[in-house]
């Protein structure tokens, strides 16, 4: 490992050292001789793909797992934690991805819980004291938060601040944040970063776990990259690039930008004409959308979440009945009340936005999942009789062709990693040879290796003459993948761009601004 000293940190003391941490689980070596250190006042990012061993390392640090080998020193003294209580007592605080808050209690009550100030000889909670302490703490670190608000009434971003305050209240001076931005909107994420900088100024040392390259480059002073349980390298932020970090993470050159030849669009395959869709609450979420997707092109729809993209996709895939308007697929008009099966049969393939909720039956085997659309047709079944061997054989082929790892046809889908689950969904949809492929958030929650694969695959499918409609909340994904870009705002298509537009152009339109305002 290369020793790195940020000039800023050169004389700051090391507050935490982990040396040679090794942890063997029954099936996998989760940490292999990992060393990690943290100096006072720095943000040290722990970067790695899903399954690289980041959380295991932090759970060891936090006393939740016992390491098989290795040593942990805090403030120079070796420590051994039997439980999280010991870790907390040593000044560690951890904010998990899922918050551990009691929804019906107030912010102040949640923060002081388990070490609350009391009155009447310890019998009663001294709520006023608790509130005052929480207010002081919030003020000291620059948190804007109301101590009397109930958890259930505040936003996710604010709940996260409560978690951080909880750790501070317990006098943590080392803060561990496990994928803190995963649950936040971009706005909340940038607020979190400014809070973290405040904490840093106050002398807190922060471990920031992430698999997102851009945010690591934004917030961290140093970055340690884990890959398959090993610490690959520790680099300072200065001079680090997304490409370099991605190579360290994945272990090979990764194409972060999609490299695609220009499209050669053919005839129109999907055509929508003045489509209106209402949601479950009868609100009109799609208000007169007309669009065309040609064979051999990717049309991307950009937009802020909740502007009708979900309902639009549901209408095209038949999950939701449209109110009015025409949907023409391959020249054939679909019925107004066409359901999922009729849309499937007209040639629509659909990678749904939530693979756990829609894309997969997690407790079905991979073979059963691969047959989710086709089980009722030959050769999967005949006269209602299923042929498990046919299912298994096809699945075996798909797993190979789409590089799905970690299972065989008889494995439960639940046991696959997110990236492999998504590859299985993509494999199933593409294998049906649809004329139109709708890809809704195809890479949500995936790590860079899987994202790269799926992007490349979508471009390949385009070049085979499929019409692809891409819907994503990741603007960058839409911009880099689409041959044409439509911007959706409040249920309408408000703008169209060719490939090569910038984020700035579209950003304003996504929020309802007019084009002129940008020009």
């Amino acid at each position: 490992m290369r020793a790195v000293e940020s000039p800023l940190m050169s004389d700051a003391p090391t507050v935490l050292e982990m040396r040679g941490i090794t942890k063997q689980f029954p099936s996998v070596l989760a940490n292999d001789d990992v060393s990690f250190d943290l100096v006072r006042g720095e943000v040290h990012a722990l970067l790695g793909e899903n399954g690289a061993g980041k959380s295991t390392l932090m759970n060891i640090l936090y006393g939740l797992y016992k390491p098989d080998a290795g040593e942990i020193r805090i403030g120079g003294k070796p420590v051994s934690f039997g439980s999280a209580k010991d870790a907390i007592a040593s000044g560690l605080g951890m904010v998990h991805q899922h918050f551990m808050l009691i929804p019906v209690m107030t912010v102040a009550e949640n923060i002081v819980l388990a070490s609350e100030p009391t009155q009447a000889a310890g019998a009663l909670l001294d709520y006023n004291a608790a509130r005052a302490q929480v207010r002081d703490l919030a003020l000291q670190f620059g948190f804007g938060i109301d101590p009397d608000a109930k958890i259930e009434d505040i936003s996710v971003g604010q709940q996260q601040r409560v978690e951080i305050l909880k750790a501070l209240y317990r006098r943590a001076d080392i803060l561990i944040l496990d994928e803190p931005t995963a649950v936040l909107t971009p706005q909340e994420a940038s607020e979190l970063f400014s809070i973290l900088r405040n904490l840093q100024r106050e002398g807190m040392s922060i471990i920031f776990i992430s698999h997102k390259l851009n945010e690591v480059l934004e917030i961290a002073d140093r970055i340690t990259v884990l890959r398959r349980g090993r610490a690959i390298d520790t680099v300072p932020r200065e001079g680090a690039t997304e490409e370099g970090l991605a190579r360290l993470m994945v272990g090979r050159e990764v194409l972060l930008r999609v490299d695609k030849p220009p499209a050669t669009p053919g005839e129109v395959v999907l055509e929508l004409d003045d489509v209106h869709v209402r949601d479950d609450r009868e609100l009109e979420k799609v208000r007169g959308v007309s669009l065309q997707v040609r064979a051999g092109e990717i049309v991307g729809i950009a937009g802020v979440d909740g502007n009708g993209q979900t309902e639009l996709v549901e209408a095209i895939s038949g999950l939701r009945k449209r109110e009015s308007g025409r949907i023409v697929i391959g020249g054939r008009e679909t019925a107004l009340h066409a359901g999922v099966r009729s849309m499937l049969e007209s040639g629509v393939g659909h990678i749904p936005e939530d693979r756990h909720r829609y894309g997969l039956v997690l407790d079905f085997t991979l073979a059963e999942n691969a047959a989710l659309h086709d089980f009722r047709y030959r050769p999967d079944s005949r006269f209602g009789w299923l042929f498990p061997r046919v299912l298994a054989a096809r699945t075996q082929r798909l797993l190979k062709e789409f590089d799905v790892r970690g299972g065989n046809p008889q494995t439960k889908a639940r046991t696959l990693s997110g990236g492999n689950q998504q590859k299985l969904v993509a494999a199933r949809e593409v294998d049906r040879d649809p004329r139109v492929l709708i890809a809704a958030q195809p890479t949500r929650g995936l790590d860079v290796g899987a994202i790269e694969y799926l992007h490349r695959r979508l471009v390949e499918e385009r070049d085979r003459g499929r019409a692809i409609l891409l819907i994503s909340l990741e603007l960058e994904e839409v911009l880099s993948l689409s041959d044409r870009i439509l911007v959706m705002y409040e249920g309408e298509i408000v703008a169209e761009h060719a490939f090569g537009t910038t984020e700035e152009d579209i950003g304003v339109e996504m929020l309802g601004g007019q084009r002129e305002a940008v020009a």
Binding site: F25, P26, S27, V28, A30, N50, G51, G53, K54, S55, T56, N59, Y62, L64, Y65, S83, A84, K85, M94, H96, Q97, H98, M100, L113, A114, D178, E179, I209, H211, S317, G318, L319, V340, R341, L344, H350, P352, H356, R357, Y358, G359, L360, V361, L362, D363, F364, E368, L372, H373, F375, R376, S381, G384, W385, L386, P388, R414, T415, G418, G445
Partner: protein, 409 residues
Amino acid sequence: MNEIADRPPPEEEEPTTSAGRLMLRQKAGGIIPPVLTAIFAFFMGGVVIAISGHNPLSAYAGILDGAGVNWFWDHFGNTSVLDLTTFNLTQTLLRTTTFIFTGLAVAFAFRCGLFNIGGQGQYTMGLVVGIWVGAYWGNSLPNGLHVVIGVTLAALAGAIWAGIAGLLKAFVGAHEVITTIMLNWIAYWFASYCFGQGGPLQNTTPGQESNPISDSVYQKSNAIIPVLWGNEGLQALHYGIFLAIAALVVFWIVLNRTTLGYEVRAVGFNPEAAAYGGISVKKNFFLAMAISGLFAGLAAGTDIFGWKYSAGVLDVQASTVGFAGIAVALLGRSTAVGVGLAAFVFAGLDYGTTRGLDPNVFEPTLAGNLSLMIQGLVVLFVGADLLILYLWSLRKKRFATPRMSGKGV
């Protein structure tokens, strides 16, 4: 609080139906938990026996003998001896037949994510229709055809009764637990009316007009399922047990080898993914309930044409075979083999603690309650072992398999 706060959160997505979640937990432990559940329930029953001042071991030995299980070491392979032991075993097997059907009635719905609490009502409607067909018309039919039609219509009656709950679930979203319980009471009073004094199916035999009991299929038409083992006049075992075993096989085949079963299981695990796959969730709610009711109706049909021949108001009101089906399905983990074995255990318990029990070993008045108590304990412990499995899976998530401890491991 710290312990709770510091536990890594469970990451995996859960099935979206409550029955689906229960299923998942049940499947997690394999065959060990249900066996432990049963052992523990019997152990607790033993404690109660001891508290009541009896020797648990001799009481259980008495129950085993009462259930005729001693046949396996006394006369094994010899079906010609028709003594008390043989008689007890045939009685246990008669009830096993019924419990297999009522257990499947709960298990099938369960695999679709539905709780069919209405097995009792479906069984009762099957009784009414079975008796109506068997004793009140169709006497001109050949006996065999009469039986087939009678059992089939009884099964259909159960299917329709459960199908009502399925339709209500599919089209107005009424919860099947509520509707099946309500339908149970409707069936209860409807059958009480039919067999009660002045009711349409009340006894027409001269001199019997005041009895709140139906005519007997046996006396009216003699259209009965043939006897397999035992004395025809003494509640012998009938060929219906083969129908029950066939039902277990069909249950397995339908679920695992047909598109219908594929749809039912997909809906049971994740209705939204099923809909995305083009499966009609409403259709499957209805079908799963109707098929469940079909099994309950078959229980009634084989009971009527096999050995009960008639039913009275008291029979209807005291019967709990539909509810026993819940315990059978839970202990049997809603699998074909499990239901078969659990049905035998509960049938033995049912007969072995009541009529079959030697009164010298244990007063029958106490013993009948023991049967219900052990049934209750099994249901309770099935719930408890699911809790234990759940806690165990949390523990495993924390200490054993890193993949399950969090996506960011």
